[in-house]
Amino acid sequence: MTDADPTPQQPSQEGGGESRSERPKRLVRSRDRMLAGVASGLGEYFNVDPAIFRIGFALSIFVGGLGILAYVALALLLPERGEREGEELPPLIQRSRPLAIAAGVFALIVALSWGAVSFDPWPFDRGGAGWVFGGPLLFFALLAGAYIVARGLKGSAGGGWLGLLLVGTIAFFGLSILAVCAAWVAAVGHGAAIAGAIIAIGVMLVVAAFAGGGRWLIVPALALAVPLAFVAATDVSFGGGIGERVYRPASAEVLPADGRYELGVGRLVVDLRELDWEPGDVVEVELDLGLGEGVVAVPETVCVAADLRARMGVVSAAGDESDGFDAESTLNLGTGVTPRLELRGEVDAGRLELVNDDTADVDEHGPDGFRWHDDDDELAAERMREACDPDRQALPQADADDATTDGAAGERSDSAPDAGASGLREEGSGR
């Protein structure tokens, strides 16, 4: 990787007769440093003791670490005072090699953070164990990697920024296509072939290390590895199709025999609010979604026993929401209360939601959609508690009728994936 021009840059006002005090005051990293010279530079600029800034940066570790981010940003962006009077060296971000080292260290910090989170036991809560600035660090590392690659491309393109734009655009689209193809191949079950290709590129790089050349292979190899790791982590499968599926069964006869609804990628809606719910009914539904959004809607008067999981994403069941890796949301109220929906759902990457609202429009988000305010989570939880109250066994028919009127027009699909058999059973009949 290239160090940018280490040649000292002379200040713009370089009149030989000008004294230093006449030049505009500039914020630079100082050579009188403990780490990168940021605190010393700030101290010199503001004419205060740099220890104040050092203490401030140190204390910021305990308030989310944002000060550390600020320190790193200043260390990268500020020019450095040179050895000679009035001399300034370009900021680190213009020098590829220090930038690569910093980005590499940051990526390793993120790796340690994520790796540690994934191992039990871990002294912090699993959901919040990652360092607050882990995400920004990774973002910076990737940005720095892209910048370093761009500098390499600029060199290959002859040094001109127009050439860089052209080569960069072609490279971006080429790598994007490669990444999408890799994700597709992995999602249809041939991820081992992509992994084999990565190993093969690795072997080629090792050979190239002795024969010369071949560094450019690193970039396409990572373009294969990132989507494959994503697919592997989320277990995304394109089985079940791609697109939008909306099911609004009006009777138990059109429910799939096994109660299973499946979609590979897209939006899957199972709106059970038009179903003829009777006391004693227990409906079993299972949702299997690869990548996207899944919604199950039930009348407010139906009790739901739910087990929703997301390998990566968000799950929400009547106000009980969870997100992140291996997110899980369960409802287990009013055992034996009917009518009842027994719902199991899993999404590899995306969102899965149970809506128990007779008026919510599940066809869209926003103010008229099924989620709009946090307060609605509490209302949803309250409705579910009432529906699962053992003292309430009868379903008011008026409520059920109301439920069937909402959103009934314009359905895109009313048939079940495997319609013709009933997924409904009477309580006590066995599963």
């Binding site: 930038l99 260290v105 690795g202 790089l205 982590a233």
Partner: protein, 73 residues
């Protein structure tokens, strides 16, 4: 290590072989890595490659670029 070996390519190649092997085992079902560990493996691979790039010798195109920056004429 001999003078003629490109350490960046060597380290990157070894890292990619390791990462590919981990992904291959995951895909063939030999073991099932969690999303966090896979993300960590990927970030570690990127980190080591970036570090190697920063520490290793510059490529020929980068040396040319450096030369151009030193002497634009």
């Amino acid at each position: 290590m001999s003078r003629g070996v490109d350490r960046v390519s060597l380290v990157s190649g070894l890292v990619l072989i390791g990462l590919g092997t981990v992904l291959l085992f995951d895909q063939t079902g030999a073991f099932d890595l969690s999303p966090g560990l896979l993300g960590a493996a990927l970030a570690a691979a990127v980190g080591v490659i970036l570090l190697a790039s920063g520490i290793g010798e510059p490529a020929q195109s980068e040396r040319d670029e450096e030369e151009r920056e030193r002497d634009p004429t």
